[in-house]
Symmetry: C2
Subunit: 341 residues, 2 copies
DNA sequence: GTTAGCACTCTCATTAGTTGAGTGCTAATA
DNA sequence: TATTAGCACTCAACTAATGAGAGTGCTAAC
């Protein structure tokens, strides 16, 4: 499946031209635009070969060629090089990175915005669920009559809270007392260490506040369960409005609807493995709904968990630019996460 | 500007037909579909009158009539009645209301989803910034080496937190001590009562932990400042893809882009005054960008502050349905907020 | 192996012709 | 006087025909 130098050059020209113009590329255009020292006729012969091999296709007899998905795949694997960010882009990225967005959501939001701004594709960032190891604090805070706030803090700084009803038979001091006992038993305790015995211990020590204890325990249980949901941030989805392949309203609706359903979207992103930028093109994707799209993405590590960032664009995508951007941003945010803890 | 019964009937027929079909309505269609006991010719005469009065317009000579914005306005003000929810819809609403979504965001999300589901228009919910009156608790929770969590709880159950760096010269006990002093001075204190004296008092009592105190005070200050941002929730924006008036890609892009910019959107919603459902049609709206859209909205009260819910659709909108839905949902969520505190 | 030349193919834009829905006006009718 | 039937007229939307242009594949010459 290896192509000689000239064929590679021609394939590359066609890919680049097609990505730029979204029109089939003719033999003359290839010669002219990329200053090859051969005639259109020769190019035509080569193109016929490339078509036979499956790298190109022809919308109709008298049109130029466009790269097939296989052609794009070959281009991505063996021809293109990832394009580095320009100086201005790098500067902008640094600004985004160093802006004191100490709220995680905001930071991620800016990263996503940057990705889609720079590339003009839709971007996504998956933030892994941050597993915590220890409880740091448990509070029951009275809020006026009959209400209280139950508040848990983990060693990762995550805060879980819920408003609960408090039987009016309990007063503020009772709440404080329960807080204290919980804290004593659970504080700095690893989750794995919280076993039946210690829970039993809690119940025993606070028999007469059974209801409250049960509520609190239920909440802790909840916390443990919900620890498994990673979050997906999307940005720049409207960029697909610029792509001529989606000028058709029905296609557009399909894609936008898909992008709106976050949960579905999580499913289409393949499991990230290493640090490398990965690319899936058109039908290589799992779900039918995105067989007209390509994905350029990479995993990153944060607190031992794996997240992902990536771009979502048409098959006719500037893979070199997309891959370069994803690679750089991936490294940058991993660095941030490393420093930050 | 009052119309006789027959003209009203004809205007209504044209509005309803046009809303349904998005096509200009001819005299024959009016007679046939709405079983009026007059001839098309008569209707034509009346239509000519209505056009002269500004209630109808004609896309071109040989087409039927469509309602002008003034026509819609007349229809909304003097002809239509708000349509009540069907039994199934009411049932669904009750389900949404009573589902134990004790997270505010989730509750609002469901309300928005309901609104746009039922009407097929984009919906918005504005949640007012909840002003709080008292501090309930202030905690400094150590999180491993050099880090701590500063955590404030207000009487409205709002939680403000930030991760801060702690000078390594301070140990866990120092943190606890600062917490305690803060709590003693601020607990259950109204904001208006926190004056310079009490702050001075804090600083004095903790002179040797100056840095920490300043950090904490800064955070409290922050909290007070940020109390002013209301939140906007949007839902069902893709419904506009169904409207034939936006089959044009450029228009579509404009609107979707607008809807993506939450901040701009807040600006287009007029100040809500009373409890009544209000409607602004096309050019009655402030911003140029939404002069091709209509707004159906109403305010609601929550903890003394005013929020809003509403729908955003084409000028050719089912105002009766939209207004009825908004009215019902408005009442429902106000009831929820009333009960919940 | 490469290239010039040429017949051929197919899309796209333009034009002309046709259809049909709907109007406005006039004259007849109740 | 209000209503209606009848009819000529208008205009958008569809259809078919035509021609231009881009690009190919093939053949024969270099």
């Amino acid at each position: 499946m290896t192509l000689d130098e000239r064929k590679r050059k021609i394939l590359e020209s066609i890919v680049r031209d097609y990505v730029e113009t979204a029109e089939p590329v003719g033999s003359r255009a290839v010669v002219k635009k990329y200053a090859l020292k051969i005639s259109p006729a020769t190019v035509r012969n080569e193109m016929a070969d490339l078509e036979e091999m499956g790298y190109l296709e022809q919308p109709h007899t008298s049109a130029g060629r466009i790269p097939s998905e296989i052609g794009f795949r070959y281009f991505v694997d063996f021809i293109m090089e990832k394009q580095k960010l320009s100086d201005e882009e790098t500067e902008l990225l640094n600004k985004v990175i160093s802006s004191n967005a100490d709220e995680l959501n905001e930071f991620i939001g800016r990263i996503g915005y940057f990705l889609s701004q720079i590339t003009n594709y839709a971007s996504f960032v998956i933030v892994p669920s941050i597993k915590f190891k220890e409880f740091k604090s448990m509070q029951l805070i009275p809020l006026g009559k009959d209400k209280a706030l139950i508040l848990l803090v983990t060693d990762t700084g995550m805060i879980i809270h819920r408003r609960i009803d408090v039987p009016s038979s309990l007063n503020d001091e009772d709440l404080e007392q329960v807080s204290a006992v919980f804290n004593r038993v659970l504080k700095n305790k690893k989750i794995s260490e919280i076993n039946r015995t210690s829970l039993q211990q809690l119940r025993e020590g606070l028999k007469h506040k059974r209801l409250l204890v049960d509520l609190a325990l239920e909440e802790i249980d909840n916390l443990l369960k919900n620890t498994g949901d990673e979050k997906l941030f999307l940005s720049g989805t409207l960029n697909i409005l610029n792509e001529p392949e989606f000028k058709d309203l029905e296609k557009l609706r399909k894609i936008l609807t898909l992008l709106e359903a976050n949960e579905v979207l999580k499913g289409i992103i393949p499991d990230v493995t290493g640090d490398e930028v990965d690319i899936t093109i058109g039908h290589e994707n799992k779900l039918d709904d995105i067989k007209e799209l390509s994905l350029v993405y990479a995993g990153y590590k944060s607190l031992g968990e794996t997240g992902a960032i990536g771009l979502l664009g048409p098959i006719r995508m500037e893979y070199w630019k997309a891959a370069g951007t994803v690679e750089t941003v991936r490294a940058a945010i991993e660095e941030v996460f490393r420093q930050n803890r």
